[in-house]
Symmetry: C2
Subunit: 418 residues, 2 copies
């Protein structure tokens, strides 16, 4: 079978499954989630032994220590995955929600009803637990999903997918509600990206080159973010201690993720008070600083920040810094160099907070809080399948509701249009 | 200046204007709408005389009588446009609406706040009043708009755009909030469709070839529908008189529009009662019927419906017809031949109505009402800029709210992530 034929088969089966899934009740979907949680534990020996096959090949793929750790499954990680599945049963089912309703003067009863998107093509490079996580969110929201994982996790993903498939069959949901692309061939992704008649949305999660390729080739909508160039702006009225605490958390708590801060902007009137405190924190946290000239007046050990630095998502313990003369200059800088992902202002001035939240055009804007809070769980969505920096459809973290559309349903008694 | 440079200039100006517009208050936007309504009347001589230039060239473009009528502006049509503008002032301003809010256990105050999309590129082939209509909806929802009209209406559109621009300047809104592409050169559209960094959404309204071109070339999201292949399904429990009334309205009230019906499906158990009534109506309305073999048993004068007929949006007084053995067969037919636009079931059976509304995957699904009600005004949106058959972002009629996105705003007091 050619890759094109394989892609059509996967997508065609997914489309058929999606029709049945759209009609599934919340109880059916939650029963499936609970059964999958049980099966993950019951079949942990099989899953862990396939994971070992991947781990033994990790050096072939040149994985570093951190990547090997992300790849590794353990009994406690499987228990955590099972617990996460039980958490998803507690989230409200978005399907069938009446978003709004009205009765028109002619008596037509109008409802806008939430429905699944249909078929999700989910591409990920990261940990094998994402296989189960993504399947749970897509199916709970009534969508069929085609999963494509990284080559370094193929055996783990195949084993996890078998468990998912068996749990679907046992629960009376369509077997093809979650399918795994069983080849790591690159061309198959290209073939799937052509199928906009069968696949309703593609969600790539991984490095920038993956996402750029998907955005370029996809014929269907894509939920994505390329970069997370996130900023902390320290306003002149900021509490310097709070600003250091927020910057430390934004930059250092998990530097490799998209909502970590990459650049700090400092109002010139607070530079003398704030920068020495910041320097102490950065040294303690082993963060390399790349600053503008005015930053370097206060912190002479800082490297020189180039134009490129302000455009860079380091994903590492490196921070760029610029002293600005006003909140306007901060907003302009973010507009020019940012990626519309996440920004925060530290301020004691309500007017400054209001201006910042109104004028910054990013998926999430915080006042006196860490950028790290731009996350589905932290913003109250319960779980997320990705973060969008686009403005179309969904923006910011995407949970169950963001995996849905709606349709208009109107009940009449013979109305015609005059 | 090259077309590429002209496109960049238009889109760059629109982007700047969109930033100011996003901050405009409802009062400012409504004041502008009222001023534009006044100016349309004050400057009607200028507008009507430019319209006459277009009318005098109509034969060069080969416009038929109906098309000339659509092109024509009159004092009463200008008054209607002014009245429509005043109606838009009465619609709620979507910008700034708090869609949802919550307080997290850590004290973070979370809001999801509605914001404009940014820049809309609106392409239309139809009547010149759409120039004013589209500008009013885009700007009321805080978006800048680039308008591209048809070549046959160029002088009318130029005159109307001058009035729009002057009203913007007088009202203190950015002059470039609404720009008209002042050339009918085809290549300029291609250049604008490349600018996904500046233009947030493209909305093409016109013939299928225009929409296909836009969907193929656009690098940004598109709100669109290709076809309106809409169905009326007459269930076995239908009141035959009501079914005829609804079919007549769906097919004949305005056959050239996208929510007009193109195909009727009849449950076999009601065929003997319904088809003779239908035949009488179709003859009286001069509708050509193309039926399946079983239709033709009852109506021998009907032409034979080919496979192609069921795939065709006639936009004319032609109707295809098929007798089906069950509601399942009707749903399957719609799934196979329909365009996911609008379908209606005529039935006295709640179970059939529920199955139809649940299983039909179309933007709007009606029970005992005409397909013609799939319209922004009729569904309570107040006005519409287009109808979407996609499931991503907006589905069905798109009004002010569908021209918006949202952002997450969170107010803290020093929270960091643990």
């Amino acid at each position: 079978m050619s890759w094109a034929a394989y892609a059509s088969q996967l997508a065609g089966r997914a489309k058929l499954a999606s029709r049945q899934l759209a009609m599934a009740t919340s109880d059916q979907k939650n029963d499936w989630l609970r059964r999958l949680a049980e099966l993950l534990i019951e079949r942990s020996t099989e899953v862990l032994s396939e994971n070992t096959v991947d781990l033994n090949k990790a050096s072939e793929f040149g994985l570093n220590e951190a990547a090997v750790d992300r790849l590794r499954l353990t009994p406690s990680r499987l228990s955590k995955m099972a617990a996460d599945l039980r958490d998803v049963t507690l989230l409200p089912d978005p399907v069938g929600e009446v978003i709004e309703s009205s009765i028109r003067p002619n008596g037509l009863q109008i409802r806008r009803v939430r429905v699944p998107l249909g078929v999700v093509f989910f591409i990920f490079e990261s940990r094998p637990n994402v296989t189960v996580d993504a399947a749970s969110l897509c199916i709970k929201s009534g969508n069929a999903v085609i999963l494509r994982g990284g080559k370094e996790a193929l055996h783990s993903n195949l084993a996890l997918h078998r468990v998912v498939r068996d749990s679907l069959i046992e629960s009376g949901l369509p077997e093809h509600a979650a399918q795994l692309v069983e080849s790591t061939e690159r061309d198959i992704v290209g073939e799937l990206l052509k199928l906009n008649g069968l696949i309703d949305v593609t969600i790539p999660r991984g490095g920038k080159s993956l996402i750029e390729r998907v955005a370029r080739e996809a014929t269907m909508p894509v939920i994505k973010h390329f970069d997370g160039i996130c900023h902390v702006y320290v306003d002149r009225s900021a509490d310097p201690e709070m600003a250091v605490r927020i910057l430390k958390n934004s930059k250092c708590q998990r530097p490799g993720v998209c909502n970590a801060a990459e650049c700090v902007l400092i109002h010139e009137e607070i530079a003398a008070k704030f920068l020495p405190l910041m320097e102490r924190m950065l040294v303690a946290e082993r963060v390399e600083l790349r600053g503008c000239d005015r930053t370097r007046e206060f912190i002479p050990t800082a490297k020189v920040a180039s134009e490129l630095d302000y455009h860079t998502e380091y994903l590492d313990l490196i921070l760029s810094s610029k002293v600005v003369e006003s909140i306007d200059a901060a907003i302009d800088h973010i507009d020019r160099y940012g990626s519309h992902h996440t920004e925060t202002i530290v301020t004691a001035d309500d007017a400054a907070a209001n201006r910042f939240t109104a004028e910054i055009d990013s998926a999430a804007v915080f006042v006196n809080a860490s950028t790290r809070f731009n996350d589905g769980g932290e913003l109250g969505l319960g779980a997320e399948i990705g973060i969008s920096t686009d403005k179309f459809h969904a923006r910011g973290p995407c949970g169950l509701r963001e995996l849905t559309s709606y349709k208009w349903v109107a009940l009449g008694s013979g109305q015609i249009r005059e």
